[in-house]
């Protein structure tokens, strides 16, 4: 029988998870190479520095996803009787906090270079005997930092939705939108080349603001999840229709007079209670049946307590 002890995904989703793990490993190795390339080319451009920091930050979701997945696999034990599902929510909060903190630092750093009227210099280097303005090399580095990232993002997105995994989802969304950062930084570098020294810091500020915006959004979601808000869909953050389906299902049973349900998100899965006022005499077998029915209804329903009551609870 399914229940809190069943912490595993259904067969078809196990495959999706495996694929997601593989993609995140690819992401990590790819990002490491981007970080090296960007570091070697960034020179004194503020926009490049900010884009580089952003790439560094984007390692966090991938790494925390891989770690959290490892912990999430564990069955409930003596100490953690509810299992390890919440590790995802915690990893999500930690990642979001890092994003916000770094974003605020980036805003400070870029504003300071704007206030101090810092004029960024971009020099020249010889490659194979040809002199090249490093600005062009930076733009190439930015192209390398964005196009593969976008492809990875698009590949991860449907998997995140299937798994109802927020870290994976935000990671995919952020990577999909990575071209924005790259374009901003490119505009900054072209600005420097056009003699507009402020374009660089302005581009950096734009990148920093978008990081802060994401940081706030993710922290808000992570905190709400940990505060046991009702389960929501990943994209629109609307109440998951699954919850209403379950309510209808329980109310539709012929032995149920009235019922009230509540669920919360524990990482990828939902946990909750169903309070039922039975028609006439309470039959224990009915309670057991409804429990089994709900657990088998959807893989996301991971644990349900059925509570027989005389009056519906106030929650």
């Amino acid at each position: 029988m399914k229940g809190i002890a069943s912490f595993e995904l259904p067969e078809e989703l196990k495959k999706v998870l495996k694929e997601a793990i593989r993609l995140e490993w690819i992401t990590i190795f790819y990002l490491l190479s981007v970080i090296v390339v960007m570091f070697l080319t960034m020179g004194s451009s503020q926009a490049m520095k900010t884009a580089w920091l952003e790439d560094l930050l984007s390692l966090i979701p991938s790494i925390s996803f891989l770690i959290a997945t490892r912990i999430n696999k564990k069955p409930p034990d003596e100490k953690f009787r509810y299992g390890y599902h919440r590790v995802y929510s915690i990893a999500f909060l930690v990642g979001a906090s890092a994003l916000l903190g770094m974003g605020l630092f980036m805003i400070y750093d870029s504003s300071m270079s704007l206030i101090k009227l810092e004029h960024p210099s971009i020099g020249n280097k010889t490659f194979f005997g040809k002199q090249v303005w490093m600005g062009w090399v930076m733009i190439l580095a930015l192209v390398y930092s964005s196009i593969p990232a976008m492809i990875l993002g698009f590949k991860k997105l449907p998997k995140a939705k299937k798994l109802h995994n927020k870290i994976l989802y935000t990671d995919a969304e952020a990577q999909k939108a990575d071209y924005m950062t790259a374009f901003a930084a490119m505009a900054g570098i072209i600005g420097i080349g056009a003699g507009l020294w402020w374009a660089d810091s302005a581009a950096a500020l734009f990148i920093a603001l978008s990081v802060v915006k994401d940081g706030f959004k993710y922290i808000s979601t992570a905190v709400k999840d940990l505060m046991d808000r009702y389960p929501v869909t990943l994209k629109k953050q609307k109440k998951d229709p699954l919850i209403d389906e379950i309510e209808d299902l329980v109310l539709g049973l012929d032995w149920v007079e009235d019922a009230k349900i509540r669920f919360r998100e524990n990482g990828q899965v939902y946990v909750g209670e169903v309070a039922i006022i039975p028609k006439g005499k309470l039959i224990i077998e009915n309670l057991e049946k409804v429990n089994v029915m709900l657990l088998n209804y959807h893989w996301k329903i991971n644990d349900v307590s059925i509570i027989p009551v005389k009056e519906l609870p106030s929650w």
Binding site: S44, I122, N124, G135, W197
Partner: protein
């Protein structure tokens, strides 16, 4: 796709005189003169009877000749001339500076003309930097 086209367009437009200086300093120096700050630091720059000599002076003269620039020299000490450079009152600072100079924050080191020695130019003067580096890289002597 649209973005890519816009960027490509800007690149083509800009390609002719890229990178530019803010305030067009290099073009102004062409009409006026190139102001060089020099600091005595043998063997790179030595003052003999009030005249500056040494490999760095030769390089600067060569650079000026190639670009049809008149030059004027200002003698001084490091911190004083760095300040002038920061105020954009000088174009180039010469004085046997090393690649990892302590003035990296205040000024931009050029590409080294040998294994480790550089000139300093004001921050953000990317056209001047490019012309100077073009000359330096062509005449680079690596041991």
């Amino acid at each position: 796709m649209k973005h890519v086209l816009v960027i490509a367009f800007i690149l083509v437009l800009a390609g002719c005189s890229f990178p530019k200086d803010p305030e067009n300093s290099f073009e102004k120096a062409k009409n006026d003169e190139l102001k060089i700050g020099i600091i005595e630091n043998p063997p790179f720059i030595t003052f003999i009877n009030g005249k500056a000599e040494g490999p760095e002076i030769e390089l600067i003269k060569g650079f000026a000749r190639e670009n049809n620039l008149k030059i004027s020299f200002t003698k001084g000490n490091e911190s004083g001339l760095i300040e002038e450079l920061q105020k954009y009152k000088l174009h180039i600072l010469s004085g046997g500076f090393e690649k990892g100079t302590i003035w990296k924050k205040e000024a931009t080191p050029t590409a080294p003309y040998d294994n480790s020695h550089v000139f300093l130019v004001p921050k953000g003067k990317n056209r001047l930097l490019q012309h100077l580096e073009t000359y330096i890289l062509k005449n680079q002597v690596k041991e």
